[in-house]
Every structure is written in structure tokens, then in C-alpha cells.
Symmetry: C2
Subunit: 647 residues, 2 copies
């Protein structure tokens, strides 16, 4: 475990500590708030952020070492004779780890962590070639093969993660070492790839990320060259240069030019990193047609191709987004990295539009899409997140392709930067998390304190710590369809409250003013579109921003598939401090469906007129979906049969 004790020395970052630096982006409706400006507290996220630093980052670093990922760098520098170990893009795990470790130090250096970063930086610097090239797989014996298989071998994917780590390290801590390395590699890429008329090679990498990474590098360095390079890569994709792979051009989104791509398809993480890059481009260069297209892609994705968890990716085959309504539960792929990619995309769309639906989805995906990927113990991860399981799917400490663990770590380390945005003299409250904030607002700094037991309770109390005229924009989540209320200093706000929108409260504030937002959290029964066959006759339960599931450990002997939710019996929400790290459990009644004996030996039978026979009710126990598989092997289901009521 790493000690969170910070050294006295303050961080010396020259740049503001934004997760994504949209402070000068022409088309950003909302501006970011620095990660350092927000301090989380409370029982939910703060302990998790602490666990990332104290438990996850050191255990991941030990695995970077024991699996040979650090040695791959040592061998390039001639410090190690081992053969290259692991997959050809393993460098990225180190880069993402540095990104997480950088953001973890935004409030000041953590010596034990910085020591590991420094060690990694020494190795990375030592592995860079004289021309700026760096990729340990393509060094030593494979130097001659550089840039010969852009489709499959991820050189620019590695470059993209390197750049992101370098930008993060620079922003969060002021440390320029990695930025120097990354800039040299980016320059090499800019020299090699580009328009034919400049005598460069027209080509794209098989795995997107370089696009958004280069735009961030442009923002961090002020060099527009990198923005232009990102635009080049976006325009160059979609012309079928990545032919011959196992899953066709769609896998790489290389089947049509972006402006003709009306739906997200193919490899989910590639698709989502792609749209992040394009949205970043729109943020820098206003382009309403392109923004319209991005929003259309979003609408198709969310209304036809997304799991109720916010997860994306319906196919193991090609790790792909499926067709409309193709959302199998047990065979859901929903890679943890895809949930994170969706959070990153929605963060950019929120900035580009100010539309609450993107913040809604960020929140929902953090709780229900990303968080299931990380065990409560801080050291086990899911790569694949099914919505139903037979008890055989388990989190692992690491994977051969271990993209998800450090991706979870960097996202959690950045979380404070997602809570607020600003627009002119408005502070937008995107997420409800207990904590303090000192938000730069024009020339001022506005101090806000959030007190809430969210996500377990919808009461949020915001105390204003800075006087003056400005507005608070409070998100009223779309899940809160009824009964939301706002009280300012004890007085009910006399304004219509629209669910799924931000609510503006503009005042001349006095220190100590209190805004109390109440978001009722009744238990909700969800049904699916009639074309989503797999969920026909089934419901899912949610409460507030939390999706629920059932686990077989709570139903000794009964098959989850035979549980039938009784629609009339009320379901209670009970906070259990000692259960699964402290959760609200749903309790009510559930029936056991008695099956015709004929089904024991048959899969298909002539249609019977029979009624469903329901046995004595059992107690329903539903837990948050994010907390499943933390009590040993257990079957799990999100969607459960519900009683028709009429039979």
C-alpha cells in the first residue's frame, strides 16, 4: 500500500489542471474546472479515489514489472537481455499508469508514487530512438519493421497513450520530462504521415487514439501543427486502407469517411476513441454539420445499441458494437474501456453543447458501466462486463491485454475534474459528490461545498462560500422524472423544474447561502423496446443513478431465471453500511416460477395454454450492479421476468 502522505513541496504545474483543456477551445460552450480545484469527500467516491492510489496503483506497478512490461523498456536501453514479453502494445499500460499516477498527485507530490514515476520516466527516456521513435516492440530486432503494419500493430496507438500521459504529467505536476519525449515522437509522426502533396505517407493506424491525443498536445504546447495532424488522420480514415483483417473495415471504422458514418459500429473502443477525437476537432474548429452528425451517432448508440448499464459492445467477435437491438446479456462484451471511452466522449459533447443528457450519461456510466469493472478490493478488474452470468465470470488482477485496469485508475484519478463546468458567470454542477471546490470563475474564485449521501440519497446541499452575483446551474437528472425540488435558504424555488435539464439559479450570493436540491429516488422498473427480444417480459430495477442486479448468493437454490418480480408489492430501499462497502439494498417480494416438467428434456414444445404458476414469495434482494461478484462465484442477472398481471 502506498502512503497518501504528500510532501510539503507544492506541485509546480505551469498549466491549469484540466482533464481536457478546453479553456481556449473556440466551440466549447462549457469550460472545464481544474482537477485540483475540487476535493472529494463523503463515503462513496473519496474512499475509492484513495483506494486507487493506495492499493490499485502500487499493485498495477508491481504487475508492470513482473509481467515484463518495464523490462521491455530496459532491453531497448541494453539493460536487460530478456526477449520482448507480451503483446505488441504493452507500452500503453505503463503510459496509462503514469497518467493515473500524475493525476493522483494533483494536490501535491506523493513521494512513494513519484519514485515509481521517476523510475518509469528513466526507462522511457532511455528507450527513445534518436529520431524520436519510441515503441519497445519495434526496437532492437524489429526496428526494421517500423510502420510496416499500421493496421494491426498499434504504433500510433502507443504514441497516443504516450502523449496523453505526457500531457497529464505536465498538467498535473509540472513535470516536463515525458512531454519532451512525446513531442519528439509526435514530430516524427507529423513528418512521416500527411497529405500526399507534402510528400508524406497517407495512412492511418488500426486503433484510434492518436487523434484526441494530438489535439490535447496542441492545446498543451500551443502548436497548431498537432491539431492539423489530427485532422489529417480523421480525414484519411474511412477510405478502406486497412483491408484484409479478420473483421473487415468496419472493425477500424475505415469503411466510410467519418462524415458518412451515421452509426457507431465496429470495435467499440476504437469507435469511441474516434468520436472523442472528432469531437475534440469540432471543439477547436466550430463545425455545426459535424457536431450534428456526432449527436445523431450518439442518439443511435444510446437509443438502439447501448446496454442499460451504459456499457457499449454487444459482440465478443471483434469486440464490436452490434446492430440495433443486438444486446445479449450473458454474452455482452461491454469492455470496461468502452464505458470509459463513452465517459470521455460525453465529457466532450457536454462541453460542446451544454446538454444535460451528456452529463446524465457520464454519471450513469461511471456508476453502472465503469465501476463494475473494478472490484471492491481495489486489485481485481473485469475486462468484459456481462449483464447476466452463470457464475463463471470473475475479475482478474491483470490481463494479457490489460488495457482496462490502468484505464479505470486514470479515470478515477481525473474524477474531480468532471464534477463542475463553467460558462461565463455560471457554475454548472454536473455531478453530485460530497466535497469542496474552489472554482475559478472569471477573475474570482468561488468556493462551494456539496453535502450529500448521493448516490444513496437524492438530497444535495450546496453551501456557497463566496459572495457575489453568479449563477448555479444544477443538473436535474433525466432519471428523476417527478418530484424534484429546490430550496434556497429555506425558501422553495419558484421555477419549473425540468428533468433531464440544468436548472439555473441566479442570485447575488452571500457567504453561507444554502441551496438544497431534492431528487426523489423511488425504485424504478424498466422495460425494454419491443424489438430487444432478449428482454421481452423482463424488467430491470434502478434507484437514482444506480442500476441493480440479483446475485444467486441471495437466493439459495433458486434459479435466477425463475425469479419473477411481482409488480404490485412495494420494494424498499435499505442502506446497509456493512454490506459490500456500504450500499443501498432493494428488498421486496419475488416469486419462483414453477416450470412444466416437460421442459426438463425439451428446448421447444408445442405452445401451451398454461398459466404461469407462482410459488410463495421469497424475499427479493437486489444489489447495485457495480457491486456484483464481490462475494465469491455467483450467478447474476440484471433483467428479471415480471408478472404479466393478467394471467
Amino acid at each position: 500500500m502506498i502512503s497518501l502522505e504528500r510532501s510539503k513541496m507544492t506541485t509546480q504545474s505551469e498549466s491549469a489542471q484540466y482533464v481536457v483543456d478546453l479553456s481556449h477551445s473556440k466551440a466549447a460552450v462549457l469550460k472545464p474546472v481544474p482537477v485540483s480545484a475540487v476535493t472529494l469527500a463523503g463515503d462513496f467516491w473519496e474512499p475509492r479515489l484513495r483506494r486507487i492510489v493506495e492499493v490499485s496503483l502500487p499493485s498495477q506497478y508491481a504487475l508492470l514489472e513482473s509481467t515484463g512490461r518495464l523490462n521491455n523498456f530496459r532491453r531497448v536501453a541494453g539493460q536487460c537481455d530478456d526477449p520482448y514479453k507480451g503483446l505488441f502494445f504493452n507500452d500503453t499500460d505503463i503510459y496509462k499508469w503514469i497518467e493515473a499516477a500524475a493525476w493522483a498527485q494533483v494536490k501535491g507530490p506523493i513521494p512513494a508514487l513519484q519514485k515509481l514515476i521517476d523510475e518509469a520516466l528513466d526507462l522511457i527516456e532511455g528507450a527513445q530512438d534518436s529520431d524520436g521513435y519510441i515503441d519497445t516492440y519495434f526496437s532492437v530486432e524489429r526496428k526494421k519493421d517500423r510502420w510496416t503494419d499500421l493496421r494491426d500493430l498499434h504504433e500510433m496507438y502507443c504514441a497516443g497513450h504516450l502523449i496523453q500521459a505526457a500531457v497529464a504529467l505536465h498538467r498535473a505536476t509540472g513535470n516536463k520530462r515525458l512531454l519532451t519525449v512525446a513531442t519528439r515522437f509526435a514530430d516524427l509522426i507529423c513528418d512521416l504521415f500527411g497529405p500526399e502533396e507534402q510528400g508524406k505517407r497517407v495512412a492511418v493506424d488500426g486503433h484510434q487514439i492518436i487523434e484526441m491525443a494530438l489535439i490535447e498536445l496542441a492545446r498543451e504546447t500551443g502548436e497548431s501543427r498537432y491539431l492539423e495532424q489530427a485532422r489529417f488522420f480523421i480525414d484519411a480514415r474511412g477510405h478502406g486502407t486497412l483491408t484484409g483483417g479478420r473483421w473487415g473495415l468496419e472493425y477500424f471504422q475505415d469503411h466510410v469517411p467519418f462524415r458518412e458514418m451515421t452509426t457507431l459500429c465496429g470495435h467499440a473502443v476504437r469507435a469511441l476513441y474516434y468520436v472523442c477525437g472528432v469531437t475534440d476537432l469540432v471543439l477547436e474548429n466550430p463545425d455545426s454539420a459535424l457536431l450534428d452528425l456526432l449527436e445523431k451517432q450518439w442518439t443511435n448508440l444510446t437509443s438502439r445499441r447501448m446496454y442499460i448499464s451504459g456499457g457499449v459492445g454487444s459482440r465478443h467477435d471483434g469486440e464490436a458494437i452490434g446492430k440495433d437491438f443486438e444486446l445479449p446479456n450473458a454474452r455482452a462484451y461491454t469492455e470496461t474501456c468502452a464505458a470509459i471511452g463513452s465517459v470521455m466522449w460525453n465529457h466532450r459533447l457536454l462541453a460542446a453543447t451544454g446538454r444535460a443528457r451528456y452529463a446524465d450519461l457520464i454519471e450513469w456510466t461511471l456508476y453502472n458501466g465503469m465501476l463494475p469493472g473494478w472490484a471492491l478490493d481495489g486489485t481485481h478488474y473485469f475486462y468484459v462486463n456481462p449483464l447476466e452470468d452463470d457464475g463463471t465470470h470473475h475479475r482478474q488482477t491483470w490481463y494479457e491485454c490489460s488495457c482496462c485496469p490502468p484505464n479505470v485508475a486514470r479515470t478515477l484519478a481525473e474524477l474531480p475534474g468532471y464534477v463542475y463546468s463553467t460558462r461565463g458567470d455560471e457554475i454548472w454542477v454536473n455531478l453530485f459528490i460530497e466535497g469542496e471546490a474552489e472554482i475559478p470563475l472569471g477573475a474570482r474564485t468561488v468556493r462551494l461545498t456539496q453535502r450529500t449521501r448521493y448516490p444513496w440519497d437524492g438530497a444535495v446541499e450546496i453551501t456557497v462560500g463566496t459572495s457575489g452575483a453568479f449563477a448555479l446551474q444544477l443538473r436535474v437528472p433525466a432519471w428523476c422524472t417527478e418530484g424534484a425540488s429546490v430550496v434556497v435558504n429555506g425558501e422553495a424555488l419558484n421555477a419549473p423544474i425540468v428533468s433531464g435539464d440544468y436548472l439555473a439559479i441566479r442570485r447575488d450570493w452571500t457567504v453561507g447561502d444554502v441551496v438544497r436540491l431534492d431528487l426523489p429516488m423511488p425504485v424504478r422498473h424498466w422495460e425494454s423496446h419491443p424489438h430487444l427480444h432478449e428482454n421481452a417480459g423482463r424488467i430491470a430495477l434502478s434507484r437514482g443513478p444506480i442500476l441493480y442486479c440479483v446475485e444467486s448468493v441471495d437466493y439459495q437454490g433458486a434459479e435466477l431465471d425463475d425469479l419473477v418480480i411481482d409488480k404490485v408489492t412495494p420494494i424498499d430501499a435499505v442502506y446497509e453500511p456493512d454490506m459490500l462497502g456500504g450500499i443501498v439494498v432493494l428488498r421486496g417480494a419475488v416469486h419462483i416460477q414453477q416450470r412444466d416438467k416437460g421442459w426438463d428434456a425439451a428446448l421447444y414444445q408445442p405452445l401451451a395454454q398454461g398459466q404461469v404458476d407462482l410459488a410463495t414469495p421469497l424475499t427479493l434482494t437486489a444489489i447495485p450492479y457495480f457491486a456484483w461478484q464481490n462475494r465469491g462465484a455467483a450467478k447474476m442477472a440484471v433483467w428479471l421476468p415480471h408478472e404479466h398481471g393478467c394471467c
Copy 2:
């Protein structure tokens, strides 16, 4: 088109022309009837067998040539300088084609076909190495790599298909040329692989087929060595020697020894070819424990993991059999070769047990599992057979991996051999197909004539053309649950008729005796096991042995997913001679489900109490599933929503 005109010369086969030669198998309860003994007629199968020979085989041979498959042989003999073309197991397409072309000549040589066979034989003989090795991928420049990647590179898979083709050619036509080639290669394999104590290499191939091929070779040559070698390969599998592949050991069924494998899993075709080999072993060496296990595997497969079409394989990922109840319709994989593998397995299980359920499944799979893989035009094939489609899935003339087209051809060419079996003085009527048969029964030959419009009509008239005492065993299919009747010479048979069993009629027959079996064919509505979520609230239609589907061309404008079958309106079965080559169409009423407008933009909504609103009935038009996608691009569905009746 190849002319079916046969040359006068009769076939000179020394061996009886059995599809699988169980004539001397110790544990075969039923004995086979030679392919040459049965002549099909009527409107259904006979024209299809003719189409295979006249249209499919010549078009396939042209593709073997144009895609470089034949050239791959020429280059080994030094007759061609082209590089090796295509996948590493492309030789097998030629072998399977020869097998089909051999059986097509069982009634006498077809010169145009024999000319092509002779050309192929010249090439194959020319490509065999001095030690017996033959695999064009591992010749010339890759000779040094032989037997270095048994997991992935299919050398014994190629050997297996070579042996099967050689046995078929010898049995069907008496031509020994390929048998000489195959025997030499089999001898090499027997010399190289085997028990450690014999100084041989203990290893198995990544793709099964060599097991059943070697056993057939043992039957054809009388050499027990090949049987022992098959046993060795079966025993050697399941010990985890095929490690490191993308889909793990299960893909190759190498995760547990066969005797511990309680369910079929992993790659579907591999699994089915595997159990064919093991069943062949049991047929030669009685082993009741192993036969019990095979029947248990069958029960699990058919009652938990098989599509209603008889198709097997739920996953594109690894072309695999899924878990219990994992049977997605649109993403069904159900490779045509897997349906054929299932027919092959059930043929062996029927012989080993005499249980009608295996013959039932042969019939059902021929009509609904294999036949959809072949277009009515005779030149297009499905590799993947979904049970629901959005209009984007089309048959192709050929595939890079083109295993299915020649597999369909060889199965159809063998079909006459599946119609009857014998046991002592009993003739077992497995399939109902119009035609003539001269069945060797002990010292006699019994002449039978079947007259029937099956599968469109369940009346089957069998005229006995040979006098004497013997029994007919008539299969009463399991789908015929009520009303089956048998009349002999106009007199109703006074015996209980059990559906899903054979019915014995033992008499001292006179020439001209007529047995009339009547199998009523009401339209049947099928529902799925409650755990098969995808089909909840849906029904499938069948009539007799034919599974039905709907195609969007018959529902202008309506979404198939919104069609609701009305359970009370009767459905008529109408023979349409000019539709899709002559089919029985189902006609009745179907409603259009009116969806709440909220679903236009949502995938999940809070559960409504709303009733399903059904608009004025449209005409239901359902066609046999095997005939889908023969009228241009069309959406298709097998499972349709049905009205609950109570809402």
C-alpha cells in the same frame, strides 16, 4: 451444366456402396443399405440431387480452378509457378468435391464428371511426396514446416478429407487411385504419431475428422491399424496439448478427456466431427459407457443448445456452441457444415441404437438445418444460417473458407443411403421420399416402392415388390403427436402407434401388398423453454418436418418484429407449385403491433401498464425456412411475437 447421361459401362465397385460401412461393425444395431440400392423420385429430393450434379458440381469445379485450389496441386508437381493461393486447408475443398462426384456416379459413370475427377486425381497423385505426405500448403517452400503447428494448420484435417474422398470414390465407383494415395498418407501418419512407448509423437490435430476417416479406412481396407490409430487420437485429445490459441482449449475440445466431456462445446464442426469419430469407435468396439456418454451429450445438445432448425453453433466468436440456452437468432452461427456434422453423427447414433429420435433429427436437420445453406439456383450457399436477419445476409457462390458448398454436395449425393436401414429380416424406413429400392436383406433382395408427396403431405404408400416373410419398421416422427395411422392392403393396422418410435409390421408379404402410413400435418405453434430469453413471448411455426419463417417481401412496409401471430385464427397450408420451386405456404392472419411513440427515441423506459394495441389483421404468409433469401434481399424471422390472449 453437366449432362446426367451415364455411359453404358457399369460401375465396378468391389465393395458395397454404403455411406458409412457398418456392415461388419460389431455394435451396429442397424445395418446400412447401399446408396446404389435406392433410387429417389418425386418432386422434392430427386430434382435437388439432379441439380447438385448438373449445376452445383460443375460450378464448384470451375471455382476450384479459378480460385487457385487446383493450381496449388500443379505447383507442387512443378507445373505452375504461381504462389500458393488461399487458406492452408484449401485442398479439402477438392477432396470433398471428389467425394460428392463419386457418389453422384454410383448408378454408373457420368463421363463429363469422371473427366473432372480424373484431372483432379492426376494432380493429387502428382503432389504426393515420396514418403506419402500430401498437403499442398506444406510443400515447396514450406516443406520444412510440416507437423510444426498441429494446433492451427490442419494437416490431419486435410488427411481426413482425403481419406473420406478416397473411400467414397472406391466404394461408389471401384476406382482405387485415390485410395492408394490416401493409404500411403495414412501410413505415414500412423508411423509418426502414436504412443510414446512406441517411440512416436503423442499429439493431435487442431481440427477433428481424421478419427472417423481412419475408421472408415479400416473398414474399407480391413486394416485394423487405422482403427487403432483413430483410438489413439481420440484418447490423446483432452490433455491440453493445443494450448495458446485465441479461444482456449475448449475450441478444440482439448480441455478434458472425451470420457469426462459431458457437453458438446467449443467449435461446433470440430465437436460434431469428434463425436462422429467416437461413435464410429463404439460401433467397432462395443463400449456401453461410452455410448451412454454420447447419448447424454446428445440430450444436452438437443435440449439446451440447438436451434429449432436443428442448427448448431451459437457464436460467431470461435464458431462455437454456446452455453445452455444461448441461442441468439440474428447472430446464430449455425454453420451449414455443423448441420451436416449433426446428420453424420445422428446417422451413426441411429445405427448404434435403433432409436427413432436420431432418424427424426436427421430428417429435421436435412430440411431445416442443411438445406437453407443451398440456394434454389444450385450455385449459392450460406456458411452462416441465422434464424432472423435484417436483409443483409446473402448466399455466396463461394467463400475464402469454402467448406460448406462441397459438404452440401457430398451429403445430397449420399442421401439415398440414408433412407433405409436393416436389422436381421427387418427393413427400417428412416426417411419418407418417393422412389424405388432394392434392399439386400440376408440372401434376398427386397423391392420396395415409396409413393408420397412428403414433406408437403404425410401420406406415404409403400408397395412391396418381393414376396416373403420379413418386417417393415416404419418411423413415426416425434412431430406427429396425434392421428398417425397405418393401413395394410386397405385394412387398418390394429396396433398402438407411438410417435417418435418405429412401428413394426411383420408379415408374410405378397408382391403388390400396400402399406399406407398417414402422418397428419397440422400447423404447429412452438414455444421455447422459459430460460431461452430471446424467444420469450414468441412462437415458431412448423408443419410436418418443415420449419417456417416469414420474409419481409410478403409484408410490404411492416416490420417483421411488429407482426403478432393471432393464436385463434386458423392457419391454412396451401401448396403453391410456382412459388420457390413448389412449396406449401402457410396463410392465416397476423396483426401489426402498434408501438408507443416513446420507443422511437428510447431503448429502455419505465414499465408501462399499457395494453398491446393490435391493428387490423394482415394476411400471414409463411414460407419454409429452407427457402428464404431466394427472392432478393429480404428481412426474415423464424420466431414471431404471439398474442398473450389475456391482455
